[in-house]
Structure formats: structure tokens, C-alpha cells
Symmetry: C2
Subunit: 348 residues, 2 copies
Amino acid sequence: MATIEDVAKASGVSKGTVSNVFSKKRPISREVAERVMAAAKALHYKPNYWARSLANKETRIIGISIPGEKFKFSQFHLSLLNGVLGVCYDHGYRLLVNTLPPSFLTRPEHLATDPIDGEILLDPESGDARIAERLTSDVPVVVVGRPSPEFENRVAYVDNDNVGMTLETTRYLLGLGHRSFLFLNAPAHRTVADDRARGFLAATGEAGVPEASRRIVYKPDTDGSSRDFGYETTLRAIRESPDITAVIADTDTMALGAYKAAETLGIRIPDALSVLAFSEDSVFAPEFAPPLTGVRLHAERLGREAALLLLERMRHDDKTVKRTLVPTDMVIRSSCAMPTIPNGGNPK
Amino acid sequence: MATIEDVAKASGVSKGTVSNVFSKKRPISREVAERVMAAAKALHYKPNYWARSLANKETRIIGISIPGEKFKFSQFHLSLLNGVLGVCYDHGYRLLVNTLPPSFLTRPEHLATDPIDGEILLDPESGDARIAERLTSDVPVVVVGRPSPEFENRVAYVDNDNVGMTLETTRYLLGLGHRSFLFLNAPAHRTVADDRARGFLAATGEAGVPEASRRIVYKPDTDGSSRDFGYETTLRAIRESPDITAVIADTDTMALGAYKAAETLGIRIPDALSVLAFSEDSVFAPEFAPPLTGVRLHAERLGREAALLLLERMRHDDKTVKRTLVPTDMVIRSSCAMPTIPNGGNPK
DNA sequence: CTCCATCGTTAAACCGGTTTAACGATGGCG
DNA sequence: CGCCATCGTTAAACCGGTTTAACGATGGAG
């Protein structure tokens, strides 16, 4: 590949002049500019991205990071990614998906600064090492989801109001008369699981639901499918505690598992069991039989807001700690109804 | 951020020595190495990615490109991406999602080489400008999907056997007795749409299906949802030609639209209308009512194979033009049956 | 006619690493 | 004891751009 030096020689000017023809940072006479452009075209010259980044101390790349080894993107991440990509597109940034094992990155021969101008961190966990590490470097960062308390006031983030959302949906189920719940939650160490558990416990607590009827099961980390987790957990729980009348699931895929479990057990939804899911952004939730009641989290908008917030921080080198809350929408379809035993918890 | 120079001074050695301590490319005495590492730790030193890339002429980043403006990832792309990411993870590469408007990239001040060691090109179109451009540069490239004829023997690619797959599925429908079809195909300029049309036309042709009963509608580029396209096209087509007994859809989402159209029209599936879909990788196809018959394309494996092929080319700077075909699996559920009018085409 | 400001251009320094060529010290061998 | 190979280390060149400071040419003002 031709270098700037080649172009300079070919057009009889200095490197600096060629550089300015391309960057347009200082005026160059029309005549010279045309000569340089012609030479560049003839040599198939393109400025070298890394040389430019090195000199400019800017890469025009933003990173996105997901915790865990061998992580796979879910439907939720997909929508989020689309939101981020839209903003990248509009502002001329590229997106670097950063999923390398820490074991790789900390080996001396691979240790390096990240080749990015800013970074979006997904799915924060309690005491998330990534956040701690980013705080010591000076790469602007935005987290999607609530960082754990030690970081919450030190890093910008975008989130849903998970506590409020869970309060609302649980109250809805309580209002229908449910008193015995199974909550299929996200993995335990994720802060979002905390928030939702808190909302759930607050709502059931204020309604006087006994401890034993507020069952929370956290999805294990092992990357088994959400569907299977939903199926097996629901099956086991209802066999153990037939008084359960409502299942709250983290995602629609998990809810699908609950549906299947109900089918296996010969329990009808919503007559004998109500099911409700968060994170229903797919086109399929309305197609469940019966159509699934759930909450729209607006993943794409979360992604968009996160990207915009990040760009803002990158531009102004703004140390203000900002937070954006994206509203959620409950969508009532037909998977929840009054339980057949209104004061469940005392079957028979 | 501390530089290599700072570390060199702090530990009383030269830059070159520090470099070698980190890269391990030449031996350094244990004693010196430890002194350097200690100084590096104290200064929070990390090698600068851009500077290293510039000197090494290697970035350890691979790119992935999708054509079109403001493109959004589909479920299929998600699985594919997961396949690519898995390989990246194993081999220590990062993934750069490269979706910038050509209008942006060709402006002189943004013109630059891509910051990548190799690239995966998705969804090739006929006469795809991206491929033409990559062939003149020397970045190794692998295409996912068949490149159009002028490039087919000049660039490596990974694909399903779309012609064969469509032949097989169409013959299956013909075997059930269908003689009047609606094929909801991918957008017209994509080569995959070509291949599938070819398979469909070959199968229906050899069965003597008349021209008028081999309807192919291509999804428009405008990013309307697949579901809506499936719904509206099926509705319109069946109203115009009530003799249609089978709908072949490009994706399960499109098939869902066809289901909805059937519902609107009061037509039962599969009794009066058979529906079949390619690209069913979601967990939802089995949940359709009735469960959807379709073809598994193994998007994740396509991604994995593409990434592996790319890495191989990058390593050996191999100019051999290789091709990998990933087999497809037809999954028969219950959305296809013998048509009620076995010799459709002459209703009434 | 001289002086000074402005404009376009250039040579050289710089960004932060890697690599090459040379060099001094060490040790084995004849 | 002298010779040579080996090893660890260094100074300097290099990767390919951008930026700074200086400089010559031009033109308008005094």
C-alpha cells in the first residue's frame, strides 16, 4: 500500500501538505490540492488508520463489552446492539465487540490499552471488575443497567426503573388476587436481578404475602437455554408447591418454558396459572397461546440512549455522572387472570 | 497514561528492553524483567494498542460488514454473529462491526484503510461493490453467501446449498400435491434470493406447474418488518388467486405474517393452506399453531466456518479460493399437508 | 521604496511502540 | 592466553501519519 511519503514525492510536495489536503485542517491552494489528489488516486493511496489514530489520539471506534466467558448475545442484546449501531452510523463511529477472556488480556504479551475512544458496558454484575478497571483508566464509559452500589455514583449509566417496574407488575398480579408466586429471575450476581427481586419483595411484602410464597429462583450462569430453565424450574416448583398461581419470568423465552411446564402438568393458562414476562421485545409474545402479558423494556432505545450519552461524554470530556432512565410499558394480553383459588396458599 | 519511555527511565533500561519484556520476542534476564515489570505496575503502564498495531502491521481485529444504509441485525445475523464471536474468542481476535455509510467513508477527511486484519462480508448482492473494492486491496476476505458470478471464483465464501435446499423443500410440497404457490423471497438484489428462486422454479418447472402458479414476491428493501410483508403479501395474493395452497416464506417471521393472513381470511393451516419457512433458528417455530415446518440453516455454524476460513487465510496469506457449504436440515412439523383441492389452479 | 502582515508550503519533531545493527561482557575451547 | 560464539542490552531507525515553527513569496499600507 502506498504511503503518504509516496504521494508526496509523486506530486512534488511535502508530507505535511499531503496530510493537509486530506484532513483539510489548513488551507491548501486549489492547484496543489488537485495535483495531490490526482497522485493519490493513481497510487491507490489511503491514509493508514492506525498511524492516524496514533497521531490524533483518537480512533473513532467505540467498544461494547459483555461480561463472562463465551458469552452469547440474546434477543435483548440484539435489539440493544441495533440501537447502538444506529447512533454509531449517524456519528461516524465503528463498533468494536470486545469479548476476549480476561485470561487472554492480562497475559503480558497481550496487555494493552483498548483501541477505542469510549465504551459501553452491558449487564453489570455486583462489584463488576470491568467498571473498577475502567474507572482507573480515562476511557469514557457508560453502563447499561445499574452498577453495583460502590460504583453507582461514579459512573454514568442508562437503565430501566427495574424496581418500579417490578413493583407495578407484581401489584397487578396481587390485584388479580394472586398470593403465591414463582419468580424466575436473571442470574443472581447481576444487579438487574437484585432490583427486580427488591421490587417483587416490596410489593408482596406490603400485601402480606408470607415468605414461603415469595419464591425467587435465579437462572444459573451455565449457559443452558432460558427455555429449559423456565420449563424445569416451573415444573419442579409447582410439583412441590401446587398452590402457586402466578409465574413471573425474566424473558419471554423463559415464559415459554413455563407454558410448556403448565402443559406437561395439565394446568391451563391463565385459568389455573398466570404467567407474565419482562423483556418481551420479540414479535412472538403476542403469538403465545394465550398471548403473553409482559413488559416492554425498549432494548433498542436503551442502546441508543447509552450510545448518545457516551458520545456526549467523549466530546466534552464531561466528568458529570449522568443517568438516563428509559420508561417501561406493561402490555396486558391474556396470560394473567384471577386465580381459581383467590386466597391461594391454603389449597384444599 | 504512562508510555514505554517512562517505564524505561524508571527502571533504568532502554525502550527496546521494555518492549521485549512485554512481547517476549527476545530473551531478557529474569532480574531485568522483574525490575521492568515492577516499574510498569507502579506507573499503571499498558502498551498503546495503536502504536503497536502501527509497528506490527497487525491489529488482531476482524471486521464484519453488512450492506445497506441503516441496516438492522436480524435473528439470523444474531446467530451468525455468535458463531463468529466464538471463534474470535478462541483465537484472541476482536470483532469490528463496520456499518458506516459509503457517503461518509469516501469523504477525503474520512478516507482511510480499515483498521482490520481481515473481513467477513455478509449478505452479498449482485455486483456487490464491497467485494470489488476488497479484491483490489489486500485485506483477506470471506463472504457469507454466494457472491455474484463475476466474483464467485475470485473470493472465498461460506454458504448453504440454497438451490438444493429449495429444490428439496419445493419437491416436498409438490409431493403433497400442491400445484399453486406463493414464494415470499428475500430482497431481489441479494444473491440468496436468486438461488432460492432458481431452486423453486426448477422444482415447479419439472413438475409442470404453470407459470401463473409459480408466484415469487421479493421483499422490498425498505425496512418494513418481515411480518408485515408476509401478512400483506399473502393476504393480497390469496385474495387475487384463491387457488394458492402453499406459501413458502424466507423466514419464520414472514411465515408468521402468512399465518395471520390465513387467520384474517378464515383459512385453516394446514388444511387449506400449507406454510413452510427457511431460516428457522429461533425457539419459536415449534410454538406456532400449528408448529411450523421449515429448514434449519445453521446460522451459527455459518458464522463459525466463515471466521475459521478467514483466520486460515490470514495466517497463511493463502490465495487459494476456498468454499465451504454448510448443510441444511429440513424439519417437518405440522404446517404442511395435502391441499384440499389436490389439483389446485382450477378452483370451483 | 521600505516595512509588515498574510498566505501557502516545508523540514523537522512527534505520537508510542517494534526492530535492526552494533556492542560489551561472559564463557568455552584450542 | 588468545579467539570466537553466545547472550543480554542499547542506540537509532522505522512504522505512517499529524503538527509545529520557520520561511519565502506576495501584496497593501505608509
